[in-house]
Amino acid sequence: MTDFTIPILEDQAGWAARYTTGWLKHHQDTGQFDWKLYEKPSNAQPIAGGAVKLSQARVVLISSAGGYLRDSQAPFDAPHPYGDYSIRLVPTGTPLNQIAIAHDHYDHASVDADRQVLLPLRHLEDLAREGVIGSVSPNVINFMGYLPDAARVVDELIPHIIEAVYAEQADAALLVPS
């Protein structure tokens, strides 16, 4: 696991304790979601990072739309009340009609009409051909963005994503939430 100098989630232990005794306990006790009890994750400290020359950069797309390969990958566990913290790698050249969506927490009307509103694979290929970016990484990193447990995001999801970003040999990442 990468050792981060600056916390990904400040006061993670305190946040996790409040989540567990607040929102999570309420749902476990009642079966009801009470979002008034949910503390949105927050940070105060910024993260510094160097610029890249876009025309020479290999860009990886990280999407929370819940995309997966319809014929060969298991869907995300979209109905799970506490989320699914796994990832699916989808080859960037995949025809858009071979990508299915598993995510129960946004309206799929737009992404069903046009995958590129969340998964801009063809646009990124065009940008690489035009020289705006250096190249696109071989795979898109996908996850399902309903993730109420921010501590699990840090401890489970992010290590998967870091490993994938490393494997893609990316210089830059475009993150597109749904």
């Binding site: 990468t2 981060f4 100098t5 600056i6 990904i8 989630l9 949105k40 994750p41 927050s42 940070n43 105060a44 400290q45 910024p46 993260i47 510094a48 990072g49 160097g50 610029a51 890249v52 876009l54 950069a57 860009v59 990886v60 990280i62 929370s64 946004y106 309206d107 799929h108 009307a109 737009s110 992404v111 009409a113 046009d114 590129q116 509103v117 969340l118 801009p120 646009h123 065009d126 940008l127 705006v132 970016i133 963005g145 921010a150 995001v153 840090v154 999801l157 992010i158 994503i161 870091i162 970003v165 490393y166 210089d171 830059a172 990442a173 475009l174 993150l175 597109v176 939430p177 749904s178």
Partner: protein, 78 residues
């Protein structure tokens, strides 16, 4: 996405986020973020509007050519 951006940036890979939900995203202090006035479920623009999608993507990618941290940049795309 902000938490993921913070981790990937510290790993040494520059990050940029496009979001329709700027207030929520900014709470986590990602290194670079573009606020688009688009809709939930169609972050990069309207379905079928490839030109708008390209404008949002290119504006988001352009932030990578600047050192982080950046204040959020708002793109007037709706």
């Amino acid at each position: 996405m902000g938490l993921i951006a913070r981790a990937v940036e510290q790993f040494g890979v520059a990050t940029t986020v496009a979001t329709w939900n700027g207030d929520r995203t900014w709470l986590t202090r990602p290194p670079r973020v573009l606020f688009a006035k688009t809709a939930r479920g169609s972050t990069l623009g309207a379905p079928g509007d490839a030109a708008q999608q390209r404008r949002v993507i290119e504006a988001t990618l352009a932030l990578l050519e600047r050192d982080a941290p950046l204040e959020p940049v708002t793109l007037d795309e709706a």
